[in-house]
């Protein structure tokens, strides 16, 4: 609307402050991040406060939550609260590694394909599509079965290596529309090279978008890791929320009525991923003025 362009010059600092203004008032964003932060702190601080190793067998198996064992114990007397806080740690780690690697590869491929176009784009796009149509879970199953994943970090790495294609496609599309903007031509005529243009002209224009991509990849990695753990292809060492679920299932916690064994890890995964998605919707509303509720 021409009238508004002319008559409503907004301060850029104002825009940033405005984003913050809307961020702190956005219920979805605050609630989502709040839950994630609480769980993160629990995962970081919990293991330090509650001493002991999570897989140690205890003396009072199968006991429901009590003052001594806040979340009860397993069939083997392992403390579920201790497992839960350690599991949270592993779950966040897999999210950061898996989401991080996927985000980096996705951005790299997306930016290069979108900016360079032509043959480079066609090759990268083909690669992206090939990986996109490969049933990743099946591939992960095979990789897991053959290599036998030992640590959470390796699991994260494999998830990262298979989850980047959709991010690459989305970033490619955005880059494609930005590179035809004239400020990109102007940067070229200021002697800027490809990398400089991508990192200093194009990326800053989609920073909110990139941030959201990372959040979604992070949540996705957690979900996939949990599925792998649950079907018994998780790390052979350590604890994770998915492994806890798998153990509960394996030792018939449901049939034995040991709800305290499977509810906490299930709720933990749901809470983290759900909260991240809710926060993502909130972020969308903050960055996209059209979605702001006024």
């Amino acid at each position: 609307m021409t009238t508004l362009q002319e008559t409503e010059p907004r301060e850029r600092e104002g825009v940033r402050r405005e984003a913050l203004h809307f961020a702190v008032r956005n219920g979805k964003l605050m609630a989502g991040f709040g839950i994630v932060v609480v769980l993160l702190v629990l995962g970081l601080v919990g293991p330090l406060l509650a001493g002991g190793t999570p897989n140690d067998y205890g003396t009072r198996p199968m006991s429901p939550p009590s003052a001594e064992h806040w979340l009860g114990t397993t069939t083997f007397g392992q403390d579920i609260f201790l497992q839960f806080v350690h599991g949270l740690r592993a779950t966040f780690l897999v999210g950061v590694i898996g989401g991080g690697i996927a985000a980096v590869i996705g951005m790299l491929v997306g930016f290069v394909a979108g900016y360079r176009g032509g043959a480079v784009d066609e090759v990268l796009n083909m690669l992206t599509n090939v990986i996109l149509v490969i049933p990743t879970l099946a591939v992960l199953l095979i990789i897991n079965a053959y290599l036998g994943i030992r640590s959470v970090a390796v699991q994260g790495l494999f998830i990262g290596l298979t989850q980047w294609p959709w991010a690459a496609r989305a970033i490619r599309a955005q880059t494609f529309s930005l590179r035809t903007r004239e400020f990109v031509d102007l940067a070229r005529m200021s002697g800027s090279g490809t990398w400089r243009i991508i990192s200093r002209e194009i990326a800053p224009n989609m920073s909110s978008y990139l941030f959201m991509t990372f959040i979604l990849l992070f949540g996705g990695a957690i979900l996939i890791a949990s599925s792998l753990d649950f079907i018994g292809l998780g790390p052979t060492e350590g604890v994770s929320l998915g492994l806890m679920l798998q153990n509960a299932n394996q030792w018939s916690a449901l049939q034995l009525g040991m709800w305290w064994w499977f509810v906490p890890p299930g709720a933990g995964i749901t809470a983290i991923v759900g909260a991240l998605y809710v926060a993502n919707v909130g972020l969308d509303e903050v960055f996209n003025p059209k979605l702001r509720e006024t």
């Binding site: 609307m1 021409t2 009238t3 508004l4 362009q5 002319e6 008559t7 409503e8 010059p9 907004r10 405005e18």
Partner: protein
Amino acid sequence: MSLQVSELRVYYRTLKGEVRALDGMTFELGDGEILGLVGESGCGKSTLGKSLIRMDGRMRHVGGTVVLDGQELPIGDDRAMNDFRFREVSLIPQYAMSALNPTRKLRKMVTELLRSRGSAVDTAELERRMDQVGLPREVLDRYPIELSGGMKQRMVMVISTLLDPSLLIADEVTSALDVSTQKAVARALLGFRESGYVKSMIFVTHDIALTHHIADTIMVMYAGRLAEKAPADVIVKAPRHPYTKLLLDSLPEVGVRYADRRLEGIPGSPPSLLDPPTGCRFRARCPIAGDECAQDPPVAELAPDHHVACWKA
């Protein structure tokens, strides 16, 4: 009188407050008259066009009335306006390219559109009107993407006037077109009036030279208000408002050369309508402004049909 607008005020809601995009517009439009509405970006001309048919969510009708053929238009009430849109008031949007649904063949689209207004398609009439604007009939069985910009624009013109509205608003319909296409579109608009498809028309544009070829009357707006309104020839040959004069002086014509005659723009820029200055809004840029300009100049009829809002005119 076909259209009477009096003291119309429409504001835009923004985070910083209300932008007074239209601040007390009063004018009339006769039967069969084509009014050219000119002004620079941000003067309120598009807002006026929109206000008469459909206000968007940020616009607020603050005051004033719009009477069309003796009936008051409920311009602030989006739902009540539905009865008038298309039948009484119709719009040709600036971007006809995006006004057409790309997934529908045109014939189907026209049928659906008219059905939603409770009318059936009179194919013979539709084709007759397409002939008139020089569109081949096969166009109806094509998708919008297969049409050139000028053809789309003419198709939208035919569609939006199918129900013979009393008032047609053409919002910058030619600005995205090449000069030769522009001419064809402008002539088609004139043809619509001749054939009585529309009674009167408001032609919103920033191109004064083009308006002069189409409009009977030209209204110049500045900062949400009327600056000058007069028959087209009078505006072009004997303008009275200093803004109109300066604007005309800044227009290069074919044949005017920098080396022979250097034209000058108007220094400064239009005031912010968030908090408009008191008095004459052109005062800060006006070369002949005086003390009396601190007061709002009333719109005075200096000669028959020649309205000017200036103390010095």
